[in-house]
C-alpha cells in the first residue's frame, strides 16, 4: 500500500508540475516519460519558487505547498500568456466579443 500511495502522490505531483509550467504542458497529452533527474529538477524549481527547503523530494513541505490555494496562472512562460493565435472569436462559445 505504501508503494501505491507513493505512485499516486507522484502522479499528482506530475500533474501539478505540468499545470503550473514546471514541466512541459505537452506531457499532459504525450504522457512522455521523464527521467528522475527532470522530475527532481522540476520539484527543486517549485520549491525555490515557493520558498520552502529545496530538497528535490516530495517531502511534507512540498506536499503542503501543492495543496495550498493559489492562482491558476503558471509560474513560468505560462500558456496563459495572451496571444491572438489562441483566440478563436467565433467558436469559443464564450462571449461574442468584438475586437476593441
Amino acid at each position: 500500500s505504501a508503494k501505491s500511495k507513493n505512485a499516486i502522490s507522484e502522479d499528482i505531483m506530475y500533474n501539478y508540475l505540468m499545470q503550473f509550467d514546471y514541466l512541459p504542458k505537452s506531457d499532459l497529452e504525450t504522457g512522455a516519460l521523464r527521467t528522475e533527474k527532470q522530475l527532481i529538477d522540476a520539484i527543486r524549481s517549485l520549491q525555490t519558487f515557493g520558498n520552502i527547503p529545496v530538497t528535490g523530494q516530495i517531502d511534507s513541505a512540498t506536499a503542503r505547498l501543492i495543496q495550498q490555494p493559489r492562482c491558476g496562472v503558471g509560474d513560468k512562460n505560462s500558456a496563459y500568456s495572451f496571444s491572438p493565435d489562441n483566440l478563436d472569436h467565433g467558436s469559443m462559445g464564450f462571449r461574442a466579443r468584438v475586437r476593441r
Partner: protein
C-alpha cells in the same frame, strides 16, 4: 518581479464586471475598484469602471469549464486566473465562483478567501506582471491573506513602475541650494518648490542667498517650461497613437466583417447544398432531361459536364472549397469534399479529379453526401467516418463486420459525427475530434483510451469544430477549417502561424489572384 507578456499601450484603462446581477455585485465592484486603486496609486495608470463588453479588463465569475480552455476546479486549489494585456480576452480576470469568497473588510480566514487580495493579484496579471518568488509580494502565486491597506510591497511597486512609470511629477528632484550652517532652513520634500525662512548673518550672505534663490527660481521656471513642453508632446503622441489605434480597429473590423460575410455565405451555400441533396430524387439511368444545377459546394462551382443527355453534376471548385476530410493514403494525398475527392501524388493533382469517392470505395453508402473524416491506420487499413458509423477498408474492399457504430470504439452513443481523425507525428498516436472534444484511440484495443475526451483547447490556436486534420509527409500535423489551414508546432503545442493560410494555395497548387497578398509577405 517578473514582467510577462505585453504591456498596455495606454495608461487610461477601463474595467467592467460581467456578472452585474450576482448577489455580491456591489461588493465585488467596490473591492475591484479598491484593488485597482492600489495599482493606480503606484503607477501612472488610471482606471474607470464602465458597463461594457468593450472594457479593457472584464471581471468574470465562472465555475469549472467556462469557455477559455482553462477550467476551474471547484472549491480550493485554483482560485482565479487572468490574462496578460491584449485585445479580446487579454487583461480579463476570472474568479472561481465555487470558492467561498469573503467580500468584506475583515481579513478573517474563517470568513472565506479574501477577494480583495486575490483581485489585487489577478489584476497584476491583467497589467502585465507575472508571478514573483518573493513571498511578501502580491504577485506570489500562492494565496496569502495579508493586510493590503492601500500599500504595495516594494517588489510589486518596482514591477508596475518599470512597466508604466511612477505617478507623474511636476518636476524632478533638484539639488537644493547649499545653505550656510548657521542658517535655519525649513524644507519641504524635494519634489515641491521649497520655501525658505532664513535668518541672515551678513548682507553678503543675504545677497548670496538671494542670488541662489533667483537661480533656483530661474531653474524652476525652466523646468516648468520643459514639463509643459513634454506634456504637450506626450499629449500629441497619445493623440497620434489613438488615431492609429482607431484606424487599425476600423481596418480590423472591416476585415472581420468581410470574413463573417464570407462565412455566412459559405454556410448558406452549404445548407442549400445539403437541403437540395436530401431532396434530390434518385436519378434513373435513362434520364435525358437536364437536372437542376443548384447543388453547389462553394461560391465557385466547377461545371465540367455539359452533355445535356447526361445527368449533370456540379463538382466542387478546386480553389474555393473547404475540406470535409483529408488524409495521406498509400503515400498520396486525398482530399474529400461532399461525395467527391481529389488525389494528389508526386506529380501534383491527378487529372480528371475531383471524382466521386465511391469510384474508389464502392462499398461506401450509395447516398453518400460527405465523408466526415479519414485516416490510414497502423495496419494500412483505410478508415472512413461517416455520420454515426465508421468503415474500415483493406485497400478498396470493406473489411468484414463493417460498418460499425461509433459507439463500438467507446465513443458516446450520442455523438453524431467525427470532425477529424489523424495520427499525430509527435507520439504516433491516433486522435479523433468532434466539436470541442477529442479522443485518443488505443491502437492495441482499438478503443478510446481512459481519461478522454479532453478539451480541444490543448491544440492551441485551431479552435473548436474543425473541418479536418492530418499528418503530412513532412511529419507535421495540419488542421483545417473553412478555407484555411494551420500547421501545428508540436513542441510549443500551438499553431505555427496565428492566421490561417489559404488551403487551396498549398494543397491544390492554386495560384494567387491579382489582388491577393501572399500570407508570408503580409
Amino acid at each position: 518581479y517578473v514582467l510577462q507578456g505585453p504591456k498596455w499601450s495606454k495608461t487610461a484603462l477601463t474595467w467592467s464586471l460581467v456578472n452585474r446581477t450576482m448577489p455580491d455585485a456591489t461588493n465585488v465592484r467596490r473591492m475591484v475598484s479598491r484593488a485597482l486603486s492600489v495599482w493606480e496609486n503606484n503607477s501612472k495608470l488610471t482606471f474607470r469602471e464602465v458597463s461594457s463588453e468593450q472594457a479593457d479588463i472584464q471581471i468574470l465569475f465562472a465555475r469549472l469549464g467556462h469557455g477559455d480552455g482553462y477550467k476551474f476546479d471547484g472549491p480550493g486549489q485554483v482560485l482565479a486566473h487572468a490574462f496578460y494585456p491584449g485585445d479580446g480576452r487579454g487583461g480579463d480576470a476570472h474568479f472561481d465562483a465555487d470558492e467561498t469568497w469573503n467580500f468584506g473588510e475583515q481579513t478573517d480566514d474563517d470568513q472565506g478567501t479574501n477577494f480583495l487580495n486575490v483581485a489585487l493579484h489577478e489584476l497584476g496579471h491583467s497589467l502585465g506582471l507575472g508571478h514573483s518568488s518573493d513571498q511578501k509580494a502580491v504577485m506570489f502565486p500562492w494565496y496569502q491573506n495579508n493586510e493590503v491597506d492601500g500599500k504595495l510591497p516594494d517588489d510589486d511597486r518596482n514591477g508596475i513602475q518599470e512597466l508604466y512609470g511612477s505617478k507623474q511629477k511636476i518636476w524632478g528632484p533638484l539639488r537644493p541650494p547649499t545653505t550656510p550652517t548657521t542658517t535655519t532652513t525649513t524644507m519641504r520634500p524635494l519634489t515641491y518648490r521649497p520655501v525658505y525662512t532664513h535668518k541672515y548673518n551678513t548682507n553678503r550672505e543675504r545677497n548670496d542667498q538671494e542670488e541662489r534663490s533667483r537661480e533656483w527660481e530661474r531653474q524652476w521656471q525652466e523646468r516648468e517650461k520643459q514639463d509643459r513642453e513634454r506634456q504637450e508632446r506626450e499629449r500629441q503622441e497619445q493623440e497620434r497613437q489613438q488615431q492609429e489605434r482607431q484606424e487599425r480597429k476600423r481596418l480590423e473590423w472591416e476585415r472581420q466583417e468581410r470574413e463573417r460575410q464570407e462565412q455566412e455565405r459559405q454556410k448558406r451555400i452549404r445548407e442549400n447544398w445539403e437541403r437540395n441533396r436530401n431532396k434530390e430524387p434518385v436519378t434513373p439511368p435513362t434520364r435525358t432531361t437536364l437536372r437542376p444545377t443548384n447543388r453547389q459546394y462553394t461560391s465557385g462551382v466547377h461545371r465540367q459536364n455539359h452533355h445535356h443527355n447526361k445527368p449533370q453534376k456540379n463538382k466542387p471548385d478546386n480553389c474555393m472549397t473547404y475540406y470535409d476530410a483529408i488524409s495521406m493514403i498509400r503515400g498520396e494525398l486525398f482530399i474529400f469534399r461532399g461525395p467527391y475527392l481529389w488525389r494528389i501524388g508526386k506529380n501534383g493533382l491527378y487529372p480528371g479529379y475531383p471524382t466521386e469517392t465511391r469510384r474508389h470505395w464502392s462499398a461506401l453508402p450509395e447516398n453518400l453526401t460527405k465523408v466526415d473524416a479519414v485516416y490510414e491506420n497502423k495496419q494500412r487499413q483505410i478508415v472512413f467516418f461517416i455520420g454515426q458509423r465508421y468503415y474500415v477498408f483493406n485497400s478498396v474492399n470493406l473489411a468484414p463486420g463493417f460498418p460499425k457504430p461509433l459507439a463500438s470504439l467507446g465513443l458516446p452513443p450520442s455523438l453524431t459525427h467525427i470532425d477529424a481523425s489523424f495520427v499525430w507525428g509527435h507520439n504516433n498516436r491516433t486522435y479523433l475530434t468532434s466539436g470541442t472534444l477529442y479522443w485518443r484511440i488505443d491502437d492495441y484495443t482499438g478503443q478510446v483510451e481512459l481519461d478522454y475526451p479532453r478539451d480541444m483547447s490543448i491544440w492551441s490556436g485551431v479552435g473548436y469544430n474543425i473541418d479536418a486534420a492530418f499528418q503530412y509527409l513532412d511529419g507535421k500535423t495540419y488542421f483545417f477549417k473553412n478555407l484555411g489551414y494551420w500547421e501545428f508546432n508540436d513542441d510549443r503545442m500551438k499553431v505555427a502561424h496565428a492566421k490561417a493560410k489559404k488551403s487551396s494555395r498549398k494543397w491544390m497548387q492554386c495560384s494567387m489572384s491579382v489582388n491577393e497578398v501572399d500570407d508570408d509577405q503580409r
